[in-house]
């Protein structure tokens, strides 16, 4: 777990979904919450878990594994919701577990190889290696913005 900090370093929050490791820029993360029952939204896309009460505001929660096309798994108590803020919108992302906070320099990040226009590929903006494990860095805007496309 490298924690060296440089002037250009980017801090990432890493988390696990279905035994894979993903990461998000920590600056967009507002908080991390334990799993609570989400009220399902009728006719919502399958990856929308529903809405939860975040201290009096209604927070939509996205099941990130469903969003990334990963196999469906049972909920367990270790599941957490990462609350992210993109522009002015708050969204919750349901993940299996949060792992670590790492600082990386831009050189450590490689662009993902051009593969198919797969839904999971489109949201991964970079790949990086930490302790021989591959971490997929997610592009938050394209992860969340599917929502708007569907809603509009």
């Amino acid at each position: 777990m490298s924690t060296q900090t440089g002037p250009d370093s980017i801090e990432l929050l890493t988390f696990r979904i279905a035994e894979q490791e993903y990461a998000l820029d920590i600056l967009s993360v507002r908080e991390i919450r334990g799993w609570t029952h989400a009220t399902p939204l009728p006719h919502a896309p399958h990856y929308m878990k529903g809405v939860i009460n975040l201290r009096g505001t209604v927070l939509p929660v996205m099941d990130l594994s469903a969003r990334l096309g990963l196999p469906k798994r049972e909920q367990n108590a270790r599941n957490v919701i990462i609350v992210v803020k993109l522009e002015e919108t708050m969204t919750g992302l349901l993940v299996d577990a949060v792992s670590d906070i790492v600082a990386l320099s831009p050189e450590d990040m490689q662009p993902p190889p051009e593969l198919s226009s797969d839904i999971a590929e489109a949201v991964v903006s970079a790949l990086t290696l930490i302790d021989e494990r591959m971490i997929r860095v997610l592009d938050l805007a394209s992860t969340i913005n599917v929502l708007e496309g569907v809603a509009a």
Partner: protein, 755 residues
């Protein structure tokens, strides 16, 4: 904004303008209703004048120029030289409308409507006839308007700017005998005793300027009382030692005089006594004693110019001994209070209510916090109940008290957001004026219940639908003048706009006294447009409701005004979006009334909490007409997947809420299920199958913002006592989206119309 203090002042000027424009409208309305007492005219004058003053300070020339001309005409009215007839009022109203346009344009820095300005200026000039002196004044006025000091005073009522250059010439004022000859009844004499307190100097106010302003109001005789003046050795220059008695003959009223002292309120002792009427005035003047010694004030205080020459009048209403008066005033403030109250009364009208301007965001925050408090309280009581505490324990009774308080706080907070519908109604009176002018009808709008308070958001969102309906009433509702005379009605059409609170809702009615809905014609149009079957047999109210159908327009000629393809259906949609209902009643030859019923607030909702497929949902209680327990034999299949139930000799479509929301497969066994009979906006009914009813309670509405996946049928969300979110449903939307509606017999209701 915060970095530029000028922008802030400017912004507050425009906010102030809105208040002034409202006062102006009010005043004109009162004049229109036949009230022509000087105070009303004064209110109107003052409003225009203050706008002009402020505009001058900000260099808004167009606004100043127009306001000045307007003010000049109003001044003529005030002086009794111009009689207010209906024609004049019409121009005044137009001018007021234009003034508010100019204010808006100046604020947005939009291009000026030169043409209209010129047109209205001409109309205003017509009243002035040949009064070139006023013209001159206008030019002068604009020239020196942006005076440093004038700014402050301008923003708040009477100002100095009017004739500030008259200052040096005060010494040349005509001698007092003028009062007698010129006392034409409009002019009154006031005796003003003005004693500054120490704070007055500390706050940087200058008595001589105040006195000069007084001089601008009319002819002032100022006498300085230096009896309190200590010897030079003991003199503290920071403290005021002088007081002044001013005898003022003016056409202005007490309110205006008082407004001069507005900024030093509380910083001085002020007494204003009017010598009412010419009789008094005469007496005043006849016994003006010229025997009081002339007093030269000390240089430190900057002697007011007036004291140099003015003789001392001693009107009977003024205290015999100024020193004595001062003493009593300073020692017994309680005694002074009633005097002040009495004299303040006439001036009270424009500034009657004390208002705090609060940023809407802060209120929003408060509303949100209170919402959370309500939720929190519900959670607390739920967990206390579950903990098995005795209902008679202190904790439980404390909780009850807490609940009561929470509810009170919630009500009070909601009240902050409430606003009288007055501003909305005033906008409507403008719409009527413009609309009636456009179609050449003489229409009078009467408003009732202007003080009725509604949530601010509701008011804002009502403006468009109401405008549309008012235009409709003028254009389609009312007959032409000739038709009215032929029908034996008053040539002037009437539109009444009424607001009232009725059983927890606000009801707004728009009623015209026109010909009523031409039902055969409406029916024919609906048939022609293929909206209903040619052989449809509709009741009167069903025909009336055809107006709400999309794409319906009765005007045979599409006029400029209404009938632009935006029909009553848009109005109805807008009202429904506010959680309201709109109904229509019409009587041939008597007129048509549209009635809008709205919730008091958009922040809380009386809801029915129900359970469907394991999820908790909230339905607006006002839509639930009744609850039914279903039996299998009561449910009749219309075609597969579409069922109806029989409710009191009518068939009502039955929808499974759980299925409609995609929570489960359609229910097939209805035995024992609960159904809610829902009243839809078009008076039709539908039944929703649910699992059970949990509760009826007030819920705090949490908006689902636009970035959410917007599910049809979901209006908003709320947070329940256990902290879970429950969705608030829009049953009409669910029903409309639950596939094609089973057509039931039109005999039951106008059901078929909404499909």
């Amino acid at each position: 904004m915060t970095t530029d203090p000028m922008a802030e002042i400017r912004a507050s000027f425009f906010i102030e303008c809105e208040e002034l424009l409202e006062a102006l409208q009010d005043g004109l309305q009162m004049m229109d209703e036949g009230e022509d007492d000087p105070e009303t005219i004064n209110i109107v004058f003052r409003a225009v004048h203050s706008i002009k003053g402020g505009a001058g300070a900000f260099g808004l020339e167009a606004l100043v120029r127009f306001a000045h001309r307007y003010e000049t005409v109003l001044d003529e009215v005030r002086a009794g030289r111009l009689l207010v007839d209906p024609d004049a009022l019409k121009v005044f109203f137009q001018a007021a409308d234009h003034l508010s346009d100019l204010v808006r344009i100046s604020r947005d820095e939009a291009p000026l409507p030169e043409e209209e300005t010129v047109h209205l200026l001409e109309a205003l000039d017509a009243f002035l006839g040949d009064t070139p002196s006023e013209e001159e004044a206008a030019e002068e006025d604009i020239d020196f308007q942006p005076m440093g000091l004038a700014l402050d005073l301008d923003l708040n009522g009477e100002d100095v700017s009017e004739d500030s250059d008259a200052f040096p010439s005060l010494d040349d004022l005509p001698p007092p005998p003028d009062f007698n000859t010129e006392n034409d009844g409009a002019s009154e004499t006031y005796t003003i005793v003005f004693t500054p307190k120490a704070e007055l100097f500390e706050t940087g106010n200058e008595p001589s300027l105040l006195l000069r302003n007084l001089g601008d109001l009319g002819e002032a005789q100022v006498v300085c009382d230096a009896s309190e003046l200590p010897d030079l050795a003991d003199l503290t220059p920071e403290l005021p030692h002088l007081s002044w008695t001013i005898n003022l003959a003016t056409e202005a009223d007490e309110g205006e005089i008082r407004s001069i002292f507005e900024f030093v309120e509380g910083l001085c002792t002020l007494e204003i006594a009017a010598g009412n009427g010419p009789a008094h005035a005469d007496q005043n003047h006849s016994d003006i004693p010229h025997n009081l010694p002339e007093i030269t004030p000390p240089e430190t205080l900057g002697p007011p110019p007036e004291s140099r020459s003015a003789p001392v009048p001693a009107p009977q209403s003024a205290p015999a001994s100024l020193a004595g008066e001062q003493q009593t005033e300073e020692t017994t403030p309680a005694e002074r209070a009633p005097v002040k109250d009495k004299s303040a009364k006439p001036a009270a009208a424009p500034a009657a209510k004390s208002v705090v301007r609060v940023d809407l965001d802060r209120i929003e925050r408060l509303v949100n916090l209170v919402g959370e408090l309500v939720i929190n309280q519900a959670m607390l009581s739920q967990s206390l109940e579950q903990s098995g505490i005795s209902p008679h324990s202190d904790a439980m009774s404390g909780l009850e008290e807490f609940q009561r308080l929470t509810r009170d706080i919630q009500d009070s907070v909601m009240m902050i957001r409430a606003q009288p519908v007055k501003s909305l109604f005033q906008r409507m009176s403008r719409i009527v004026r413009e609309a009636s002018a456009a179609v050449g009808k003489d229409v009078r709008l009467q408003t009732f219940g202007e003080a009725t308070e509604v949530d601010k958001t509701v008011i804002e969102r009502l403006a468009d639908p109401l405008t549309h309906m008012i235009r409709n009433a003028v254009d389609h509702g009312l007959e032409s003048r000739d038709d009215r005379i032929a029908a034996g009605k008053e040539p002037q059409g009437r539109v009444n706009l009424t607001a009232a609170h009725r059983s927890g809702r606000v009801v707004i009615e728009i009623a015209d006294d026109g010909a009523g809905i031409n039902r055969p014609k409406v029916l024919q149009i609906a048939i022609d447009k293929g909206l209903i079957a040619p052989d449809a047999n509709l009741s009167d109210s069903e025909i009336d409701n055809l107006l709400f159908l999309p794409g319906f327009s009765t005007a045979s000629v599409v006029s400029d005004l209404s009938g632009r393809g935006v029909g009553m259906d848009v109005v109805r949609t807008a009202i429904q979006a506010l959680g309201g209902r709109i109904t229509i009643t019409s009587e041939p030859e008597k007129g048509t009334t549209f009635s809008i019923s709205l919730p008091l607030t958009l922040a809380v909702l009386d809801g029915m909490v129900v359970e469907v497929a394991g999820e908790t949902l909230v339905l607006p209680l006002n839509l639930v007409v009744e609850t039914l327990t279903l039996e299998n034999e009561g449910v009749k299949m219309l075609r597969p997947g579409h069922n109806v139930i029989e409710v009191r000799s009518g068939f009502v479509p039955l929808f499974d809420l759980g299925h409609a929301l995609g929570y489960r497969e359609p229910v097939t066994d209805f035995e024992g299920s609960v159904a809610l009979l829902i009243a839809q906006e078009d008076e039709s009914r539908a039944a929703l199958v649910i699992d059970n009813i949990q509760d009826q309670r007030q819920v705090v509405i949490k908006g689902l913002d636009d970035s959410f996946h917007r599910a049809p049928g979901i209006a908003a969300a709320t947070i329940l006592g256990d902290g879970q979110i429950a969705l608030i449903l829009d049953p009409s939307d669910i029903i409309a989206n639950a596939g094609p509606m089973p057509r039931t017999s039109p005999a039951y209701s106008s059901e078929g119309l909404s499909a």
